[in-house]
């Protein structure tokens, strides 16, 4: 019988939640990396026991962890103890160095600011090789490892897209979304707060901004190519040219791989939010979690409601059965919603209040997996045979 493994990154460690295909009874393991901030964990689609994790701390910086047994044990790639300690340290899995002289980007006050690596926001394992994994980092850049996260190389062509003009949002200038096109291994979509969305069609050598159709009241030029605070992108593997976006304000879609976006916010009570996900088996069924505004980062009216569109946008219905509908003031962050691929598609979300919820029936009914974790930063799901 199939089972699921939910990888939860929190502000104070990682947790792994497991259940059988019914998704009713859960085992909770953790905390792993206790006391550290775990931005993201994700497993290889080719080898589910290979899981990568981004662990960081204001004190000790970035650490990359890798598991080869489904999260039971972890190692820092290349960081094994070296009895012959006169040699050169091989442990460089947390060494993210920009290619060449990275120059500057724009600071909050409009002045040039040196490019500085701060942390890994998102890890995206390759669809074709378990040893290849991409890392989206702050200050925004895309790195790739082809040796199981032991060493990292930047794909610097991305920053050629007017990187000197990119400016951080209040949460930092992070590359937070990496979508790999399952039909075209040369195509990758990324999104950066607050620079926008970008696409490569040659495996990461060259990039182009794909922000036409986006609107932002924070940009005086209505046709600006860059500068958009894209919060999250999602696609269904069966139609990779269709991409859904939660923009700062507005929910958007493109049917031509980002060449033009249209607003699909429709009847949402507010179109501000962070996560967006697509049903595993219904490419036009989309989920968002609206929050009140960019000034008040919590759900609207004290109710945690997931909104579902079965029409690819514009027509949205609230999903509330089992979710708190009174006195709830949490948020769901951009990487904290995920779907499994069981026949009855499961939807998972983690909140800033430390709850992780599951709906085993595509959003109709919800239950709480765990109530009191630290602030949840990311949720990923693995569907296991």
């Amino acid at each position: 019988m199939s089972s699921v493994r939910v990888l939860v990154g929190t502000a104070k460690g990682a947790f792994i939640l497991t259940s059988d295909g019914k998704r009713e009874k859960w085992d909770i393991a953790g905390p792993f990396f206790a006391g550290w901030t775990v931005y993201h964990m994700k497993g290889s689609p080719l080898d589910p026991n290979r899981i990568y994790a981004s662990q960081c701390s204001d004190w000790f910086g970035q650490v990359i962890q890798r598991s080869s047994d489904g999260g039971r044990t972890w190692e820092q790639p290349g960081g094994e103890p070296a009895p012959d300690f006169t040699g050169q340290p091989p442990g460089v899995s947390n060494k993210f160095v920009y290619e060449g002289n990275p120059g500057t980007h724009m600071w909050y006050d409009g002045t040039p600011h040196p490019w500085e690596f701060k942390r890994v926001w998102h890890l995206e394992p390759s669809l074709t090789d378990p040893d290849t994994v991409y890392a989206g980092v702050e200050d925004a850049a895309l790195f790739r490892s082809t040796d199981g996260a032991t060493t990292w190389q930047e794909l610097p062509g991305l920053r050629d897209q007017r990187g000197s003009e990119w400016q951080p949002g209040a949460g930092g200038m992070g590359l937070h979304t990496i979508l790999l096109d399952p039909r075209n291994p040369q195509r990758i979509y990324v999104a950066i707060s607050a620079a926008g969305a970008f696409r490569t069609d040659d495996g990461g050598v060259t990039w182009k901004p794909i922000n036409r159709g986006l609107k932002s009241k924070y940009l005086p030029d209505p046709n600006a190519e860059i500068g958009y605070c894209v919060h999250r992108l999602a696609l269904h593997p069966s139609q990779p040219d269709v991409v859904f976006m939660q923009l700062h304000w507005n929910v958007m879609r493109t049917d031509n791989a980002g060449d033009l976006w249209t607003n699909i916010s429709g009847n949402l009570p507010t179109d501000f939010g962070f996560p967006i996900e697509v049903h595993a088996h219904e490419p036009e069924t989309v989920y968002v979690v609206p929050i009140k505004s960019d000034s008040e980062h919590f759900v609207h009216d004290g109710k945690l409601r997931v909104f579902r569109s079965r029409t690819g946008g514009n027509e949205w219905e609230p999903l509330t059965n089992g979710l708190p509908q009174k006195d709830c003031y949490v948020n769901v962050l951009r990487d904290a919603m995920a779907t499994d691929t069981l026949d009855s598609c499961g939807i998972y979300l983690g909140t800033t209040g430390g709850q992780v919820y599951v709906s085993p029936d595509g959003g109709d009914h919800w239950t709480t997996i765990v109530h009191d974790l630290p602030r949840v930063l990311s949720v990923e799901v693995q569907t296991l045979p």
Binding site: G78, P81, V97
Partner: protein, 102 residues
């Protein structure tokens, strides 16, 4: 090459990363300086690379401190010879996290 055995005290999270106790002993080439200790520590425990000082610039991470013999050595040049009590192993070289505040 002449060496000395130096005691190094690590903060809790780095103990966990390196899977060691609160203190490790390292055979460090003379002269004993903070830089020499850190070079040896990172070579012996590669998982600590980048967690105490920057990979490239070797600058101390801002929220870490170096103490020895009741002195804060954090702002001293890292090629400054350390006190004799550290060289002789009487006192440890302490790597410590700064207060979180709040």
């Amino acid at each position: 090459m002449k060496t000395a055995v130096i005691r190094v005290e690590l903060p809790y999270h780095l103990q966990n990363l390196a899977r060691v106790g609160a203190e490790v002993s390292l055979e460090v080439p003379l002269p004993i300086t903070a830089a020499a200790i850190l070079d040896t520590l990172e070579a012996r425990y590669p998982m600590l690379c980048g967690t105490i000082r920057d990979h490239v610039t070797k600058q101390r991470r801002p929220f870490l401190r170096y103490f020895a013999c009741q002195q804060d050595l954090s702002h001293d040049p890292t090629d400054t010879p350390l006190p004799k009590a550290v060289v002789s192993g009487v006192e440890p070289f302490i790597i410590w996290g700064a207060l979180a505040g709040g």
